[in-house]
Subunit: 142 residues, 2 copies
């Protein structure tokens, strides 16, 4: 799907990013795809935050229109759809990791073991591993 370009509020790239993912749900969907192995629609619904199905549906459409998420027919279940991050979506990893670091330090919560340490120790190696895990996977041909 072609990324949809909209008229921006400004020329600031921080603003551009916030216009795409600056809400309380979109980055949680990206988080679930990146770190929690989410693939199917029901996987997102089972996350602890309890996203409503109408919000999930609208955010998945927007994330696909923005070129962050892609979907395909599930090769194991012809009626199912699976979602993946695109290369553009995977590159949101530093944003998520810095939100996690800030939240851990100043708000509350603990990320799954070792993630922040790995990020702080060697960001480039961490990103390379994330890219490999999420992008070097066989795609359905169907």
């Amino acid at each position: 799907m072609i990324a949809k370009r909209q008229k921006r509020r400004s020329t600031c790239p921080i603003n551009a990013s916030l216009e795409v993912v600056g809400d309380r749900w979109s980055l949680l969907i990206v988080r679930d795809l990146m770190f929690a192995g989410a693939r199917a629609y029901k996987d997102f619904l089972s996350s602890e935050e309890g996203i409503a199905t109408n919000i999930l549906a609208s955010r998945l459409v927007k994330l696909q229109e923005s070129g962050i998420v892609t979907s395909e027919r599930d090769p194991q279940d012809g009626r199912g759809v699976i979602y993946r991050l695109t290369a553009k979506g995977v590159e949101l990893a530093p944003v998520l990791l810095e939100l996690s670091r800030w939240g851990t330090r100043f708000e509350e919560g603990e990320p799954p073991g070792g993630i922040l340490q790995a990020w702080e120790t060697n960001p480039q190696a961490f990103l390379a591993e994330i890219r490999k895990q999420l992008l070097d996977v066989p795609r359905s041909t169907g």
Copy 2:
């Protein structure tokens, strides 16, 4: 002001951060305080995105309740109020910089000259400089 603790949707620190700054305006206010020299209420209103005054007022209250922004009487104008980032607010710099980097790469816009290069070349030195600029300032005693 004491940071207000609310019941979170989950124990994930990414979610905790998004509950505090996960909307399309709060991080623009932090951006203006961090990089654009904003201090007074009218400074935020003049940003290119055109924030509405009621949204600005509500976000400034929330940012203060969250311990990200502090306000004081303007020593140069007894009727005025100036806003500053707290230490907690300044530590949002990596989130903003990674949003800027992602936006520059995949959406549109250009950050002011040299910021992203400085961040990529030496993140620790960049953060130290930001902290120095924003926190080592004389405070009003009034």
